[in-house]
């Protein structure tokens, strides 16, 4: 048995859902002004289903403080939710439709009152409703009873499945389960401490407890998280917040705990903690399918831990993978967070194919870059370099420049403070003769040198193999 509560004039500051929950936990919010509750098993509390309906009607008019709505409601009891909804919407006060007598109860309702949204007809297309109602009008169908008594086969032929569903609705013969209203879960845990915490070890116990509860909740909802937020209330009213963003969705509380502790070690709060709140953003868990021919990657959780430990040792800005920047600036790159590349089968296939493509027949000259570039003293005649001398602790370049190619000029970012402008040259440097037996042979090496146009300083950028 189902009870539908309908109120046409619901005050804006009260919730019909909350009112319904006071009577049954099994509740469907059909629309803002209509809720349906399953009254099965409520007889022990209210005597009978009819007693419950009366109680609903009486409590609705009471004040908000007493748990009421301060407005009159229509309550209808029926064997199925759709009949109860129709009855509540069109009969005032408390109405009761016995099982099997739906057509008697709803039969006189005008056909325009049929709630099309209760059957799965695309209500976005209003013309479907209008078309069906117009057809029924042309057939001379005016009430629910007239529609319900039509032969089903004929309705199906003429109006299709939608017509059959509507006919069942008019006859009160639909059978369905309630779409139960569920409050969205909140993935947040907080704790207020009895005494301020200033050390990491006691904090780890508290974090462990909070994370345990949070991960259990995530597990219950088959979810994971890729973002953890820690909010700390500190002594003297200050607050401190840390956000841990993970590249993959996880729900292992031990990993979270280690990551949070490492993060807190790197970024300790400025004062002792008096309250702690942990919040996470729920996302769908990561689903991976390993392939026989795809090399196994390290587990993301272990990788994250290793990266966090390395970041603690080396500094956060010194760990990651290099990424080329979309600029003409020579040697421009940045360090981005290291993530495992997920290759699906198609991509993996493509990657393996591309790796198997034959190399170009043209010879390629390898270039070894000096990082940092070697500062040089260059003698130039009419702008052309003729003599070079450069050294640092590891290497030195000295000699006469016998061949040059260039200059290759690159400039950019002139609108910024870190603009660059430089002339590159490929030069052959002839250094001191090398003795091989009795013959002394001069050694010629090909270097790339450049001159910063702003400062006029020369550098050796690298060497060609």
């Amino acid at each position: 048995m189902f009870a539908c509560i309908f109120t046409p004039s619901l005050p804006s500051d009260v919730s019909l859902v909350d009112f319904g929950y006071a009577f049954s936990p099994l509740l469907e919010e059909t629309s803002k002004d209509t809720v349906v509750i399953d009254v099965e098993g409520c007889e022990l509390l209210f005597g009978s289903a009819y007693g419950l309906a009366n109680e609903l009607s009486l409590r609705a008019v009471t004040s908000k403080a007493a748990g009421g709505l301060e407005s009159k409601v229509n309550v209808a009891l029926a064997a199925n939710p759709d009949t109860a909804i129709h009855a509540a919407r069109f009969f005032k006060g408390v109405s009761f439709i016995s099982p099997g007598e739906e057509i008697t109860g709803l039969g006189d309702l005008p056909i325009e009152s049929l709630c099309f949204e209760l059957v799965s007809i695309d209500d976005q297309k209003n013309h479907v409703r209008e078309d069906i109602l117009e057809t029924l009008k042309l057939w001379g169908i005016r009430t629910f009873r007239e529609f319900a008594t039509l032969p089903t086969a004929g309705v199906s032929e003429r109006l299709g499945q939608a017509g059959v569903k509507l006919q069942q609705l008019a006859g009160g013969k639909t059978q369905r389960h309630l779409k139960l209203h569920q409050t969205p879960p909140v993935f947040e845990n907080s704790i207020e401490l009895e005494f301020p915490l200033a050390e990491l070890e006691p904090l780890s116990f508290i974090l462990s407890r909070l994370l345990n509860q949070l991960c259990a909740k995530l597990n219950a909802y088959a979810l994971a998280t890729n973002e953890l937020q820690v909010q700390m209330k500190l002594e003297k009213g200050a607050s401190y917040e840390r956000k841990l963003t993970l590249p993959y969705a996880m729900r292992d509380h031990k990993v979270f705990l280690k990551l949070l502790l490492l993060d807190t070690e790197m970024h300790p709060p400025p004062a002792a903690i008096v309250a702690l709140s942990l919040k996470c953003e729920p996302v769908k868990p990561r689903v991976t399918q390993n392939g026989l021919f795809i090399p196994l990657a390290p587990e993301p959780e272990k990788l994250e831990l290793t990266l966090a430990r390395l970041a603690k040792l080396l500094g956060e800005s010194n760990i990651g993978s290099p990424e080329l920047l979309d600029t003409h600036r020579p040697d421009a790159f940045r360090i981005k967070r290291f993530t495992l590349r997920q290759l699906n089968k198609k991509r993996a296939g493509k990657a393996s194919r591309s790796s198997m493509t034959p190399l170009s027949a043209e010879p390629v000259v390898a270039f070894r870059v000096f990082r940092p570039p070697l500062r040089a003293l260059v003698e130039a005649v009419r702008g052309y370099p003729t003599q070079i001398s450069a050294w640092n602790v590891n290497r030195s370049v000295h000699g006469k420049i016998v061949q040059t190619a260039g200059p290759w000029r690159t400039t950019g970012d002139w609108w910024r403070t870190d603009s660059w402008a430089r002339d590159e040259w490929d030069v052959t440097v002839e250094s001191r003769p090398e003795k091989r037996g009795n013959i002394s042979q001069p050694l010629q090496v090909l270097y790339r040198i450049y001159r910063e146009l702003r400062s006029g300083t020369w550098f050796v950028e690298g060497i060609y193999d």
Partner: protein, 211 residues
Amino acid sequence: MTQSYIELHTRSAFSFLEGASVPEDLIAAGLALEMPAMALLDRDGVYGAPRFHLAGKKNGIKAHIGAELKVSDPNSKTFFTLPLLVQSRAGYQNLCRLITLMKLRVPKHAKPGECAVSPDELAMYAQGLICLTGSEDGPLSIEQTGTQEKRDAKQMVEWLLNVFDKGNVYAELQRHFDRAEEARNQKVVELARQLKLPLLATNGVCHATPA
């Protein structure tokens, strides 16, 4: 600059996103450099030609007319830009005919590459025109844009020689302190030697004054 150099590859501000100076400024720059003549090759049109001609006449500089035309590659589905210089009255008529044919064929808001002269049309109206081999987007660019497909440069020059006749095709060299351009220049010089093409140095001028 001396009187021995004539700039034969210039674009005015009428070549949208390709040139920055009006024709009068280009003539003024030529005058300052004591050039006896200059040529204006706007992209897919002769929009700047009247102003360029008048300014040249006023300043005693011979103004040559031409255009850079987008041509569909006869060997693939790609396009290249072909600089064409007018040699005679018939050449001017043919250039205008090519531009008209191209513009009439394409829709009003053509996408890049849609507006192009076909190889057959070029062959039909090649008389009186001098063809340069262009720069990075020209027929001898080593790698085609997007497809990275290597074009047979020699085959392309042979086709140009077939269309324009020997003596009307010049191997164009430009130097903008660019490493890739220099590599291309070396290959163009090598090709010109093989096919006995005359070399022509231009600057591919886009603006009359530095930024």
